[in-house]
């Protein structure tokens, strides 16, 4: 059976395709070095169009008013510029109400698009642009540690990693935060209190990497200006030992957090990249695996007090779980030596 793969890699070659949701303009070049927050492409996702009625403005029928049009498609206009007229004794004119661009003119109407703030697509990871996609984005290559998460609040930033966790079970409490962490990304633990987010915003931090978070805080987390990334998910789930080991030994290292939201269909997944200089041939992360004995796996589930790691000792056929559900399962030996049976659907192969 095909297995989901989760990456907690100390060093790997990472390639990420970053594309606009709609056509736009790519603003970087191939070979360019980018940071996680550099804008690589822009698009106008929230256009503001204005339809100017020349028939009413000039007091003329459509065919006559077309003769008075002073602009053509593609022209840039400023607020107050005359776009049609003057006509008649009263020298009637139609003016552009805002700065913008003419889209189409004729049939007694002018359609213009006013200038608006474009959507900016950030690089997401620090690296080199290795491929461009005309009007859509680019592929960026980086080398470094890769730690994948399960949830993000949609923000991206980078900064120095400040490790506040002493163990995978740690809670992130308000007393762990202070102004010395300003501009850094913190490695917190389990987040339960909203006041911690208030304090983090006040400092302000550049990012938070957390084990897990109470789901009641989602709305508040979405409003934070900096990225918040959960390694495990929601509730009070301690960080798995593989992710904890990698992150907690990266104190004071430059760290990029792309807390984009998990989307099974687009493939976007929140992740942390800790850049490392490229040193020759580096292995690329494995994208897919088939379950087999000897694989290191992360045990997932819903009501979890821990996120244990283990090794598959045998892949079995249908087995009955404690819930009574019969499903394909594997025997797994946990890090502590304990053996358990886990449905294949609840295992993620660690790479």
């Amino acid at each position: 059976m095909l297995a989901s793969v989760t990456h907690f890699l100390p060093v790997t070659l990472i390639r990420r395709r970053r594309l606009l949701p709609a056509s736009g303009k790519v603003v970087i070049r191939k070979g360019q070095k980018v940071s996680a927050t550099d804008v690589i492409a822009e698009a106008n996702l929230t256009p503001d169009h204005i339809l100017l009625d020349l028939v009413r403005g000039l007091g003329m029928p459509p065919d006559k008013s077309d003769e008075a049009i002073q602009v053509k498609a593609g022209d840039e206009v400023g607020a107050g510029d005359v776009v049609a007229g003057p006509v008649g004794i009263a020298r009637r004119v139609v003016r552009a109400p805002k700065n913008g661009r003419i889209i189409v003119a004729g049939n007694g109407q002018i359609l213009m698009q006013s200038d608006s703030q474009p959507f900016e697509l950030k690089a997401g990871i620090p690296g080199i642009v290795v491929e461009l996609f005309d009007g859509r984005g680019a592929e960026i290559e980086a080398s470094g540690a890769l730690i994948q998460g399960t949830w993000g609040n949609g923000k991206i930033d980078f900064g120095m990693l400040n490790v506040l966790m002493r163990s995978p079970q740690d809670d992130l409490t308000i007393d762990r935060l202070d102004v010395s962490q300003r501009g850094s990304i913190i490695l917190g633990g389990i987040l339960k209190d909203e006041e911690v987010l208030d304090m983090a915003a006040e400092i302000p931090l550049r990012g938070m990497i957390l084990s897990s978070m109470d789901s009641i805080l989602i709305d508040r987390a979405m409003k934070m200006r900096f990225p918040i990334l959960l390694i495990e998910g929601f509730g009070s789930i301690p960080m798995n030992t593989a992710a904890f080991k990698l992150l907690s030994t990266s104190h004071k290292r430059e760290t990029a957090v792309n807390a984009e939201q998990l989307d099974h269909y687009s493939g976007s997944q929140p992740e942390v990249v800790i850049p490392l200089p490229s040193s020759g041939e580096m292995p690329a992360p494995k994208d897919a695996e088939v379950f087999a004995p000897g694989q290191k796996v992360l045990l997932t589930g819903f009501i979890r007090k821990a996120s244990p790691i283990g090794t598959i000792t045998a892949v079995r056929g249908l087995m009955t779980l404690e819930s009574g559900v019969r499903t394909r399962a594997a025997e797994v030996e946990l890090e502590g030596g304990e053996r358990t049976v886990v449905p294949l659907s609840n295992l993620e192969v660690l790479d």
Partner: protein, 582 residues
């Protein structure tokens, strides 16, 4: 039935669901179509494969392991038709529900008339209405244009104008749609489905036809008081297929195997429910409910007249958190047979949306899944009942249904049929006398798709035990004090001694009646209770078939009133589960 009556064609049905891809083989055995086997693999529409084909190949590999039948040749192509050496298959059909819901803009004239019909049309497939535009929304053409451009829809449904009615108003609403198509790059233009005043179809073609792919279907609102969605639903199904072919690599290849007949799974599910409604008592309807990861699909059909609802906000997969926006937490929690803090339940919902494929390991997790399923069924049912024409009901808004077909992994994966049955009884709360059938292999959609090319195959499969008859359910409507008598039932079996039981309010009773056997139930409800035999207190006799659970007498009244005290509720729920042997 002799072989001359059927084409002895084998048929492969492939279903690409949000979580699993299934390949199901049907073939003729002893002159009748049989379910031969099924291969299941994880769906590979998303990362890391981004190609539905990989999951299909894996499912076919598994099917080959179980049936020994080679279906794919060395060039990775489906072997169609079957060869004399036993490889390949004669016909392939496919259904799909995977992928993000289609983003739909619904355009109409009046918000509560044509626009609402456009919204209802959208809700017959895997779609999410991201914007509604209508003549009275007080927006300028440029604002409507921006609304379309901002939402970047996959599909725009344009309704409005009764037959022989509004003319200019429809043109006004077509303007922003045409402009949006003009402004968008060709590859990003939405499909347009025109379902308005048919006399304006040519105008729609002139305005939009050269700018985008325009499909025209019969007016969904031919008169103010009349809505007809069925003809447009077929066109919508074709558009869904076309959009998925463009969006998801691997779907085009699959569609070629099916000769362009891939259907949305929900439409195929609706088709089988409609078929059943033509076979069963025309006075009653047939209800089908499929609780999937991408959506909850509910189909109610009366004598071939189908109402279909596909609710992507009620899927148990990535969209599960949307359930928390439309349902109070306490309305989910009340279906749990144990105490669980609200925070844990909410965390569960969000974690499930992250890993929709994960399976409940503990009894507690299983209870949460089934509680969510109950709530989803309740909401889906309430929505479809609003759309049904007035039907004869048992002292409530719930019409008679016979049978009720339930599907979806959350039910079919339940450890016991009793747990599945109790969840269905709680979620749907059927009334009167009905039969509950479980699509234990999740093949109802595949049968609906098969019906398009082979009308006999679904008949044979439905007549076999592929669908599991869980049992006959007797559910009187009414309420009383706990422990008060609800009804007396005498069972006359074949050659067995008659058995009589008294059913008390708040209890569930099971009468053993195995599959293949039948019996007559003589039902006498007490004064306040209506079992659909002519009014409260009126009884009668009914012949019923046996099922996996026999005859289930649900004496909890309608609507079910759960004890408000937590401990008493846990006790009652545990007792009901125990009654079902779980």
């Amino acid at each position: 039935m002799g072989t001359s009556l059927i084409d002895s064609d084998s048929l492969l049905a492939i279903d690409i669901g949000a979580v699993n891809t299934r390949a199901t083989l049907f073939d003729v055995v002893d002159c009748r179509y049989r379910f031969i086997g099924m291969g299941i693999a994880p769906t590979t529409v998303g990362a890391p494969f981004f190609d539905a084909g990989e999951g299909v190949r894996q499912a076919l590999d598994q099917l080959k392991q179980t049936t020994g039948r080679e279906l794919i040749d060395a060039d990775e192509q489906m072997i169609i038709p079957a060869r004399p050496d036993g490889t390949g298959v004669d016909t392939c059909v496919a259904t799909i529900s995977a992928g993000s819901p289609l983003k739909v803009v619904a355009v109409g004239l009046l918000d509560d008339i044509s626009t609402e019909s456009a919204v209802r049309l959208a809700s017959t497939t895997y779609a999410q209405v991201v914007e509604k535009l209508n003549l009275l929304d007080r927006r300028k053409t440029s604002s409507r244009l921006d609304a379309i451009l901002r939402t970047r829809p996959d599909l725009v449904i344009v309704a409005g104008g009764t037959e022989g009615g509004a003319f200019r108003s429809v043109e006004v609403m077509l303007d922003p749609v045409g402009l949006a198509c003009y402004l968008l790059p060709e590859s990003e233009r939405p499909e347009i489905l025109y379902v308005g005043n048919s006399s304006l179809a040519d105008e729609a073609e002139r305005t939009i036809g050269s700018l985008a792919h325009l499909s025209i279907a019969p007016n969904i609102r031919p008169a103010i008081e009349m809505e007809q969605l069925t003809p447009a639903q077929k066109q919508l199904g074709r558009l869904y297929r076309s959009i998925r072919c463009k969006q998801i690599p691997g779907v085009s290849e699959l569609d070629a195997w099916t000769k362009g007949s891939t259907l949305p799974t929900a439409a195929a599910f609706g088709r089988i429910v409609r078929f059943l409604s033509k076979v069963y008592d025309p006075a009653k309807g047939v209800l089908g409910i499929d609780i999937g990861a991408s959506a909850a699909t509910i189909a109610a059909s009366f004598a071939g007249d189908l109402s279909l609802g596909v609710y992507t906000d009620l899927g148990l997969g990535p969209n599960l958190p949307s359930l928390l926006k439309i349902s109070k937490m306490e309305d989910i929690k009340r279906w749990l047979p144990m105490d669980m803090p609200e925070a844990d339940l909410r965390d569960y919902v969000y974690n499930k949306s992250i890993r929709p494929q994960a399976i409940p390991v503990t009894k507690e997790e299983l209870a949460v899944e089934l509680a969510l399923a109950r709530r989803v069924m309740q909401i889906a049912l309430r929505r479809i009942l609003r759309r049904l024409p007035q039907r004869k009901a048992v002292s409530s808004s719930m019409p008679y249904f016979e049978p009720i077909l339930a599907a979806g992994s959350v039910l079919t994966n339940a450890p016991s049929v009793g747990q599945a049955m109790l969840a269905i009884l709680d979620g749907i709360q059927p009334t009167g006398v009905t039969t509950v059938v479980l699509d234990q292999n999740n093949i109802a959609g595949s049968l609906g798709a098969a019906a398009e090319v082979n009308a006999i195959l679904p008949v044979h499969i439905l007549e076999s035990n592929t669908f599991l008859n869980l049992g006959t359910v007797v559910s009187p409507v009414g309420n009383a004090q706990m422990g008060s008598p609800v009804m007396r039932i005498r069972v006359s079996g074949e050659g067995d001694k008659d058995t009589t039981i008294e059913v008390k309010y708040g209890t569930i009773e099971l009468l053993p009646l195995p599959l293949g056997k039948s019996a007559t139930l003589h039902i006498q409800p007490s004064g306040k209770f209506d079992v659909g035999m002519g009014g409260p207190g009126r009884g009668g006799s009914v012949r019923v078939a046996g099922g996996a659970l026999g005859v289930v007498i649900d004496g909890r009244g309608r609507p079910i009133r759960l004890p408000s005290d937590d401990e008493k509720r846990y006790e009652a729920m545990t007792k009901w589960l125990w009654t079902f042997g779980s």
